[in-house]
Amino acid sequence: MFPPRRPPSFRLGIGPVGYQSKVRVIDRYKVIGFISSGTYGRVYKAVGRHGQTGEFAIKKFKPDKEGEQIQYTGISQSAVREMALCSELSHMNVIRLVEIILEDKCIFMVFEYAEHDLLQIIHHHTQPTRHPIPPGTVKSIMFQLLNGCQYLHANWVLHRDLKPANIMVTSGGEVKIGDLGLARLFNKPLHSLFSGDKVVVTIWYRAPELLLGSRHYTPAIDMWAVGCIFAELLSLRPIFKGEEAKMDSKKTVPFQRNQMQKIVEIMGLPRKDQWPHLVNMPEYNQLQTLSTSSHNKSGGSNLEKWYYSTINSHSATSVPSSNASLGSEGYKLLSGLLEYDPERRLTAQAALQHPFFSTGDKVSANCFEGMKMEYPHRRVSQDDNDIRTSSLPGTKRSGLPDDSRPVKRMKE
């Protein structure tokens, strides 16, 4: 089924010959189109040439310098982490790595292909007019997403970049957590998790303790992001759509005032009695400079109001597909995930046990179950089918208009 392994040809004979891969990407896979590009490199859609079942997404890491003669420069720590973690992980709600091919100074990670992602699904429900994602789908997505998180956290893996674009959904309705490019183990306390990479998680999904300068990362930062994703599945827009403050010339990390402000507008100002360690946060003093918004004079949380107006809002226009059936348990789950105090925030394990999933309709393992419509397939462009040449970086040619979203993330 597979081509025979060539004998390793590193340094045969006299003198160094150089490393050569035993398998070649283009011998193993037929690239059928280009999916997307990002800071990390490019992703292609492919099928197997040797009867491998299914379709594949091949992530090609961008070499340091594109265009010029590529040199070996040492693999970035984040790529090493992603390669190691993806080789180790195995769970139905985490994207499956098929193999890694190291060839011609490039890294190719071959994953199972997923037809959809949550960003694309959310986007589809805003077209041509806003119509809610069916409650059964929301419930199934949330359960599967939490199930994947629970697995990661039980294995001491923090994802650190959960957002709709990174949550894949197969055409069979299985949710798969993808892009472990920022993930890392949290059982290695050599340096504080802060010191390695200073800013993580796309700002709209960033937990308040990170915004307030906490250097202590816990799985709770992923759970805040899951809460934001839940809210977005309901309202079809990011719940806390702040603007990122850029780093100044001294490369000090600024206080993300605007993002914190967006959170405070809905959640109210955090208080010591609900979050005992609040006063120890490095940016604690900044909180006093935030304005409690005009429509939130009491300073308390507006989340409940936000939730009910969101799940009922569509009902007037599209009666049958209202999310009202998600009811009060939906609110309780949401508020448990968007809990200010990271120590009191729901864990993935606890969230899976939440009555939200045991009341009402049974949770389906296929989030599309019972749906009559089908989501549009991932757009695949044909203008760059040559996985071996490195065309110019950073040109986003396909996929959704993702550009408006903050892509900023800083690594090492």
Binding site: P8, Y72, L85, S87, E88, L190
Partner: protein, 307 residues
Amino acid sequence: MAANYWESTQRRHWQFSKSQLDELRKKLEDEDPNLVQMYPLPPLRHLSIYFNLQISRLGKRLGVRQQAMATAQLYIRRFYSKVEIRRTNPYLVIATAVYLACKMEECPHHIRLVVSEGRTLWPDFFSSDTSKLGECEFFLISEMSSQMIVHHPYRSLTSLQGTFSLAQEESALAWSIINDHYMTDLPLLYAPHIIALMAILLALVLRPNQTGVQSASNSAGSIASAAHAALSSASQSKAGASEKQGGGARSKVQKLANWLAESNIDIEAIVDCTQEIISFYELHEQYNEKLTREQINRFVKARGLDK
């Protein structure tokens, strides 16, 4: 997975039986018998002692913690179970393994720093071209199938310290036995918790005599018999013949034996481990650094692998 040894790639892909390991190595030698004949090498354990020394020297210069060095040693052992050593430049492989292990263990160093320290340590055998190390990294990762997360016995040792009320010197001794086991095949043969238990047992058996491990190799026979006595008492009580015995100096050993008897742990494996490490300490006596270095340097130079 990362937290679970039983589902880890280490257990699924990098744990062998002795005969499997022998077979792998024989296959490598058979690929090019001329090469093997032309460049004789000291026993593998002596090569491992030499490598360990080089890793420590590099690690010291870079300020690398023990655990990252242990990871590097395991990477090297895995790598040379798949690649004939005479086809590589061991100095480059050592530096690359340290460079990669540091990234995995969250204490990264810049490639240029690793290369410049390598140049300082092995000026005649190490290129200043960083791309050589970058290339070797591809080779190393590829041979390990990107399976870079490793489980060390240190964690088991830390969590069992309390269970067996180890004194500080006892834990320290067990810790150094674990450090030493990376110079043997044990990490490719047994689970980390088995290694940790072996190290605790040996530390407890050795401690009452106040002997260091190195000097203890003279009396390896007596240590082995003390360890075996403890283990056989464990397997006997496992078989049903439970009895209370001992006290005083032997009470911790007895406690360990009882604990093992009540557990599902493979006592036979601990016996094997104990024998392996003791025979390593014995062989350590015959280690000839000069000969080892010369034999390695000879094939590296003759085959132009340092270029």
